[in-house]
């Protein structure tokens, strides 16, 4: 088999695990990244507080930083934050999040499409976080998105692949990397997403709230690799009714 790489906006990655860096101490980022085998780490942008430790001191060398636009309630907010991210000097990647809803943290697909159009024209590698809707995903692709990041369940919920059937439609119909983002709470769910044919998964809270963060990072890595392999292998078929013997049907003691 050829090298199985994840390609986003012309950049190739061997790892299919995008790791968040929120909600745990910076001291653990290095270990988490190494155990996860992650090559992409997300971060956010906030107002500077003098004297605060800086995350850039803790991101291992060679890792691609993927700034998100969290805190954006409108397309304008997100565009503004993307500009700040680019000025901070870590390349053109942006994980676009436009979230007007504060209860469920659900993204607004319409405004996300609008912001994608603008940012893609400006040369950003736009990776939009979205509610898994086929028509919206098509519009994002047309707007110039480099990947599509549908949610499995609300951010931070660890509820898993609540939107599984609709993510499958995106995987089947959209000709861009599909990266399942948000909601994945345990390695088995990451594995399932990969078995379905997702190109990568992103997790943060599942690790940040685990007992041992680096060990959980390693568990996710194994699960993602297993799921990818299973996808390539082609899953065995399912019988809706009845069973089928897997032992020889002749030569039993009843013959």
């Amino acid at each position: 088999m050829e090298k199985d790489q994840l390609v986003i906006g012309g950049h190739a990655f061997d790892s299919r695990f995008i790791l968040g860096s929120g909600k745990y101490s910076f001291e653990l980022i290095d270990a988490a990244v190494k155990h996860a085998g992650a090559q992409i780490v997300t971060c956010a942008i906030r107002r500077t507080k003098p004297g605060e430790q800086n995350i850039m001191d803790y991101i291992p060398k060679g890792v691609t930083l993927l700034p998100n636009t969290s805190g954006s309630r409108t397309a304008e907010d997100a565009i503004r934050i993307a500009h700040m991210a680019r000025e901070l000097g870590c390349g053109d990647f942006v994980k676009l999040e436009v979230i007007p809803d504060t209860k469920y943290l659900l993204p607004d697909n319409g405004m996300t499409i609008e912001a994608t159009k603008v940012l893609a024209k400006e040369g950003f590698i736009v990776m939009p976080y979205m509610f898994p809707d086929l028509n919206a995903a098509k519009a994002l692709a047309d707007a110039g998105a480099a990947a599509i990041m549908p949610l499995g369940a609300p951010i931070g919920s660890n509820q898993g692949l609540a939107s599984k059937a609709f993510i499958q439609i995106l995987i089947d119909e959209i000709d861009l990397p599909i990266i399942v983002d948000a909601g994945i709470g345990r390695p088995s769910q990451a594995c399932e997403a990969m078995e379905m044919g997702a190109d990568a998964i992103m997790a943060n809270t599942a690790l940040a709230t685990a007992g041992d963060i680096p060990m959980m990072a390693s568990a996710f890595k194994s699960a993602i690799e297993a799921g990818r392999k299973a996808y390539h292998a082609g899953l065995g078929r399912v019988l809706v009714r009845g069973g089928a013997p897997s032992d020889p049907t002749t030569g039993t003691l009843h013959d």
């Binding site: 929120g22 995350i55 998100n68 000025e87």
Partner: protein
């Protein structure tokens, strides 16, 4: 008064570069938005703030989903 990161600061007349230095902020680690536009780093020392200016100074922090 100048609005810096949402707070009224008595910084009119000061340059962005001088403000960052006095606040102990490394200019290489931040992005500055000055009255709605990204300010390039080479303009920090020549951009003098005036009353009612709106300045945002931001940096990367941990984040994910």
């Amino acid at each position: 008064m100048v609005q810096i990161n949402g707070e009224a600061v008595n910084a009119a007349g000061k340059t962005i570069g001088a403000y960052l230095k006095d606040a102990g902020i490394d200019p290489q680690r931040v992005a500055v938005e000055y009255n709605g536009k990204i300010l390039s780093k080479d303009a920090y020392d020549t951009t003098q703030m005036s009353d009612d200016d709106v300045v945002e100074i931001v940096n990367f922090v941990g984040g994910g989903c």
